[in-house]
């Protein structure tokens, strides 16, 4: 349903590209998790998908249509299919509108129903995200962070989209609230056959929700595969580093930990941090290539093997 074809994004000519030659596909109803540290380009990919940014090169396709070429009515039509939830629930809601207006706005913008039908639909949406109907009459600042994130989800669902871009939707929430929202997103997905692009820096959260996982480093997709493959047989050294970094195993202090080094400009961007660095890594950047059923990796270690 969604296909990125050699997409790059460069904000200024002199700056290193935020996204470099990323190709990936997400099928209808699939949950795709995108993991990486801040600055790895994962958020930029989400924004290009939402038509908030235009790729510098390459194509972002939705059902075969190029998203950046959509204008006017076609763009509005596209908006009905793809919606978003962002990280900060305090930023995401217009501070001066009541909840009924916030949740109902997509409906009125797309002229989907009259005022009374809209009120009923808003109540229904609020119920489906676990909020009381009375919430409609209140302002965002009267809710806690977790409740606001539910409001943001209700708004994203108002147009009955097929696909949600979720950019760190639980990172700003308290732990006990995180689990509530993760469960809500799981339930909504099975009820509504939604596809997700779930962007997060936390591999464990992604593992809870996603069928497939892509790992990004310095603007490149370095590994991609089915959840079980990526988590149980990680190939790229960066994926292993991420797995080692997860708290809860009790092994955190046992692992030596990476050196803090910025991505390399020439060769493999990860090489300064990589425990397996070889000579070839300094000169040639590895390209992402298949390394198993539905598994792809960008690392010279696996090129030699194959």
């Amino acid at each position: 349903m969604i296909r990125l074809d050699q997409v790059s994004k460069r904000y200024a000519p002199a700056v290193v590209a935020a996204v470099r030659n990323v190709s990936l596909t997400v099928e209808a109803g699939e949950a795709y998790g995108l993991v990486g540290e801040s600055g790895s380009g994962k958020t930029t990919i989400g924004r290009m998908l939402l038509a908030l940014e235009v790729p510098s090169s390459g194509r972002v396709l939705f059902r075969g249509e190029e998203v950046s070429s959509l204008r006017g009515g076609r763009l509005r039509e596209y908006r009905r299919h793809v919606q978003a939830v962002f990280q900060d629930p305090y930023e995401a809601l217009s501070p001066r509108q009541r909840v009924e207006k916030i949740v109902g706005e997509p409906l009125s913008v797309h002229r989907l129903c009259g005022a009374s039908a809209r009120a009923r639909r808003v109540a229904e949406l609020l119920r489906s995200v676990g909020l009381p109907e009375e919430a409609a009459a209140r302002f965002p600042h009267q809710f806690s962070g977790g409740q606001r994130q539910r409001i943001a989800i209700a708004r994203a669902l108002a147009l009955e989209p097929d696909f949600l871009v979720l950019d760190e939707p639980v990172s700003a929430l308290d732990v006990s609230i995180q689990s509530q929202v993760i469960n809500l997103l799981r339930d909504l997905r099975s009820e509504r056959r939604l596809g997700y692009l779930f962007i997060s820096h936390n591999l464990a959260v992604v593992a809870y929700l996603c069928d497939r996982i892509g790992v990004m480093y310095a603007g490149c997709l370095v590994e991609e595969g089915w959840r079980e493959d990526v988590l149980c047989q990680p190939q790229h050294p960066y994926t292993r580093e991420l797995l080692d970094a997860l708290p809860g195993s009790g092994r955190l202090l046992a692992v030596p930990g990476p050196t803090l080094a910025p991505p390399a400009a020439v060769g493999c961007p990860f090489r300064h941090r990589c425990p397996y660095m070889m000579e070839i890594c300094c000169t040639m950047e590895p390209r992402i290539r298949p390394s198993g059923a539905g598994h792809r990796v960008a690392c010279h270690l696996y090129e030699e093997a194959s």
């Binding site: 908006r79 990280q87 930023e91 809601l93 217009s94 501070p95 913008v109 600042h141 943001a152």
Partner: protein, 285 residues
Amino acid sequence: MNFTPVMLRWLGSKHVPWAALTMGTGVVMVAAAPRLFAPYDPTRIDILHRLAPPLGWGGNAAHLLGTDQLGRDVLSRLIYGAQVSVAVGLAGALGAAAIGLLLGMSAGYFGGSCDAAVMRVAELILSIPVMLLALGVIGALGPSLGHLLLVLVLVSWARYARLVRAEVMRLRGRAFVELARVAGCGAIRIITVHILPNVLNPTLVLLALDIGRLIVLEASLSFLGVGVQPPAPSWGLMMASGREYLRTAWWLATMPGLAVLLTCLAANRMGDWMRDRLDPHRRTD
């Protein structure tokens, strides 16, 4: 003036600013129909009773605030002068705010050449001394109330435009505005529904401050002879002509000065109050 601190405390109270509201509506009403309130014709000269002090300082009830050097009733002149001051302060500030909002929002939201054009003009206007610009325009067009208003709007809108533009550029990158785009809102809806209510606050504050500034500016221009023409009364003109009598008849300059001060205070207080009312965070319901 021992009642000024009391007035300040009233105007500073946290709840509904009754004093400021009364003062504001009072001034507007008086300005709308001075005929109903003024005890005398403001231009009637009565040399026999010239320079009569106000009631309480040796004057009598016939002239509550005393008379001026030509024996004209100060209270009546204040009341008629309110007309000019209110027209200038309110209409000038509102007009400037409206133009500034419109241009500032387009510049901030659309950016690019629109932004560049608006901002260059705004900088040009802000870089010329206000007085010089005003004198130049009035000199070219000739003095009249309409031209005075035009000048005041012309020299004031740029400050609103700059303020609004900065606010809009800040808001444009906020998540709720981006999500409005994702929801399918067009530019006009985003500007009117999501951005405008959030830039009204700072604009209102500037507006309240500006009313006072414009009243003073009108006074200065009238003093220089390019604003309101005598014998028509205006607070600025009254202050200007009363200046010569400060030692012998303090009320001539003080009374219109007090009127300006209280009107500015009331305008500021009402601005604060409106800002609180418009901000859902401060509203309790």
